[in-house]
């Protein structure tokens, strides 16, 4: 039974896209990753509107001071198990916005992050690879939890 649940979790990652103050470059690339050429739906990914329905929070941007509490709230509204994927250099480290007075310099300073996809903006191929990496990581974690190798 737990194997079935693990398989189902690996097979249908539903995305919620959140922009925490990015330049919108990476957001467009995320949409490109969902479009015909890269089509993340192959892995079962669907873009959802409500945090209550999603499994993977796809964030961009360096988290401006205004967005930080909102990002945290969106994250808390998502039901467990949940994962966070950061797209773009500025989401990972602050990138071009590093040292600015008004941001948290990276999403991992606000909420826990599972996968980083660097690039300014990140290429859609990289985003698709990031999604696959996330699913692989999830698979390994599930195996470890069951005590398998």
């Amino acid at each position: 039974m737990s194997k079935l649940v693990d398989w189902a979790r690996r097979s249908s990652p539903w995305l919620l896209h959140f922009n925490s103050g990015s330049c919108n470059g990476c957001d467009i690339e995320i949409l490109a990753a969902l479009m015909p050429r890269f089509d993340l739906e192959r892995f079962g990914a669907l873009l959802k509107g409500s945090p209550r329905h999603a499994d993977v929070l796809v964030c961009t941007g360096p988290v401006t001071r205004q967005q930080a509490p909102r990002l945290r709230r969106i994250y808390e509204q998502m039901p467990e198990p949940k994962f966070v994927m950061v797209v773009g250099t500025c989401g990972s480290t602050g990138g071009v916005f590093r040292g600015c007075y008004n941001n948290a310099e990276g999403i991992d300073n606000v909420i826990p992050v599972d996968v980083y996809v660097p690039g300014c903006p990140a290429r859609p191929e990289a985003i698709a690879l990031g999604a696959v990496k996330l699913l692989e990581k999830l698979k390994n974690a599930q195996k470890q939890a069951r005590g398998e190798k």
Binding site: W7, S11, R42, G44, G49, S50, H53, P79
Partner: protein
């Protein structure tokens, strides 16, 4: 006696009852998603099972295993009850649809009215679900759902009643048998208009894309479903799929000749007799034909979904009240007139 009861329970629970219907909804959702992706030049689900055929099943299991959040402000009882009821009601209605036989698992005199009544109950459940979650987006979504579902309920009902008037019966089995003799009612004159209206009204009833105003993502997050997570959301998705199956099944039953296949064409009487003689053969034959016809209706709906973009609210309301309702009242009047003036047009069986 005991065997009869056992068989009856088996029919309701396994085939063609609850388990079969739920499996069928997963299959139809996969067909829908694959075809939709194909129309958009995408692949659609690919890696879960053969060409992603298990994708809807995986989605369902995943949602069932997810955390189930009830917001503090929500009306707890209603919030828990509405997802359950919204699965039970379409399942109950599906038992009346003839799938593996020319009668449904349940049937009684005038059951068409009962099914149409059940579809209205689903609309009320949706409104209750939206209001019980006490979220602003949900409330607006529920208000829009009420506006939309109530508006399109009238043309839907009138469209479903047109073949019933032609067959002079409100019992689903009799309408199906009538079509076996007189031909599919989609081929009879006013009934083909009713079929078109029926398919169009299915879109707002199921909240599919050109009419997905109650859950408009860009405006309302996820409409009346916003606060539902985990099991409850899984139930709502299942309920929507069951309604799709119910709508397509009803279209097949009323307009496309139900589970009958080619054996009712003139000249194939021998085949007909062979099929009716063998119970296993007839079950398989009818089920396969029902599946083919249902899949065709679902593909038509998917095509419409991919073709159009969302309508504005005023366009939606106008579509229901200014165009479809008067059109259907006209069609109903013509049907009545024709069956009174020219009795030979619709043969009496």
């Amino acid at each position: 006696m005991v065997l009869d009861i056992f068989l009856g329970i088996l029919q309701i629970v396994l085939f063609p009852g609850i388990v079969f219907c739920i499996g069928l909804t997963f299959l139809l959702e996969w067909i829908d998603r694959k075809y939709y992706a194909d129309l958009q030049n995408r692949m659609g689900p690919l890696y879960v099972g053969w060409r992603g055929i298990l994708q809807p099943f995986a989605d369902f299991i995943k949602l069932m295993a997810k955390e189930d959040i009830t917001p503090k402000a929500a009306d707890r009882k209603m919030f828990t009850a509405t997802p359950l009821f919204s699965v039970v009601v379409p399942l109950l209605a599906l038992l009346f649809i003839p799938i593996a036989n020319i009668t449904g698992v349940l049937s009684f005199q005038g059951d068409l009215i009962f099914i149409l009544f059940l579809t209205t109950i689903v609309a009320i459940l949706i409104i209750l679900a939206g209001y019980s979650s006490m979220n602003r987006y949900s409330s607006i979504g529920a208000a829009r759902a009420g506006l939309q579902l109530m508006g399109y309920e009238i043309p839907l009902t009138l469209a479903a009643l047109t073949p019933a008037m032609i067959a002079r019966s409100l019992t689903i089995t009799e309408i199906v048998q009538y079509q076996a003799v007189a031909g599919m009612s989609i081929l009879l004159f006013p009934s083909m208009i009713a079929f078109g209206v029926f398919i169009i009204t299915l879109l707002p009833e199921l909240e599919k894309i050109p009419m997905d105003i109650p859950e408009a993502e860009t405006e309302l997050v996820a409409g009346w479903q916003t606060e539902f997570s985990g099991k409850k959301y899984a139930f709502f998705r299942l309920s929507n799929n069951l309604e799709l199956l119910l709508g397509a099944g009803l279209a097949v039953t009323l307009f496309l000749g139900g589970p009958y296949g080619i054996e009712k064409l003139p000249g194939l009487t021998a085949l007909d007799l062979v099929i009716q003689g063998n119970i296993v053969l007839s079950t398989v034959w009818y089920t396969v034909w029902f599946l083919i016809k249902t899949a065709i209706v679902v593909l038509v709906i998917t095509n419409l979904r991919a073709l159009f973009s969302r309508y504005r609210i005023d366009q939606m309301v106008r579509g229901a009240w200014r165009y479809l309702t008067p059109l259907m009242i006209g069609v109903t009047a013509i049907t009545m007139l024709l069956s009174a003036v020219a009795p030979g047009l619709y043969p009496v069986v």
